[in-house]
Symmetry: C2
Amino acid sequence: MAKAQETTPSDPAVIGDSKAPRTERGRRTMRAILDAAAIEFGDNGFHQASISDITRRAGVALGSFYTYFDSKDAVFRALVRDMSDQVRDHVAPAILSAPDQIAAEQAGLREFIRFVRDHKEIYRIIDEAEFVDPESFRLHYATTADRITRRLRKAADRGEVKGDVSEVHGWAIMGMNVFLGLRYGVWSEDETPDEIAKVVAKMLKEGILRSPDDRAMSEVKT
Amino acid sequence: MAKAQETTPSDPAVIGDSKAPRTERGRRTMRAILDAAAIEFGDNGFHQASISDITRRAGVALGSFYTYFDSKDAVFRALVRDMSDQVRDHVAPAILSAPDQIAAEQAGLREFIRFVRDHKEIYRIIDEAEFVDPESFRLHYATTADRITRRLRKAADRGEVKGDVSEVHGWAIMGMNVFLGLRYGVWSEDETPDEIAKVVAKMLKEGILRSPDDRAMSEVKT
């Protein structure tokens, strides 16, 4: 009884207004449709992609599509939610196992850039949501920023970060991560995710203002 | 002779592949077309907006449009470049008159959010460029990040910020500014641009790690 009610947050059963699959086979079919939709929408955009392209790529019958989704809009909406959840689930273990909050933000960015390199289509899909499904677009960013803000607030309560961290910090960190993912994950891979995350962690830790220590260091060098 | 060659960076004469107006009246006409295009593309999106909607809104004849632009694509491309230049020109005086680089970044963000509140359409237009004209989209962000990186490098040379500031910092700061502009400029105005810019400046100055000083402060309070 308890078993049947168990769902993980990224379980396709709870994605948007799609119809929840009741069997393991149904979950696999829905997963195949979402993965195929990611490639079709990513490659061709929402307007060019068709339901039959998606089912052909997924290797499922057209009828199976309608078992789970009412329309192309519905599968797009489910996909945005699914990608948002996939990012969260991909970065969560690294964040949770980090020794402190700066290390957690560093690990989160590193894993995000790694995820983006394997799922470059995520940018085009979420960005197109601004036009195709503005509510999903807004929900994705509001949810992500809120998650960052909440973990910063908890870290402030633990005394790890400054007590005045707020929603502004949550949006600022999300914005950094989104654009660093675009630049170093999608456009070009000329820096390692690890290196980029280290640079940002240092900035979050101590800022970029040159300190008296930095001056002493450079005087020693010269 | 020298006078005739003078152009400011945001002079419509140098926008993309549009045809340069040669007279003051021509410049005013081109400006009216670009301003009308911003509203049409912002309200209706690229695909719904038509050249005749733009000329009607601008109060110019259809022939005048073709004096300056070859197509709807051409005016869209010119508009992305124009908005990018407008942002730069709007924030530049505040950045240049700031006493140091942290204050410059603070002033830049404050003025950017103010600009966005008066030009909310900028997000939809630049974001739609990702689909309508990917080269313009890429150029806008690459140019903006490069400008931030260059001013940080100069500040490092002056000894105002840490010597290791790099392109990663440029992209990180641009990303923060873009998402803070979306959240506090377009979506809602529940915090003042001044307050948001102060929070970010503090983060850039000293990071978010809780310092021994912060601990001492909170012990005094409790």
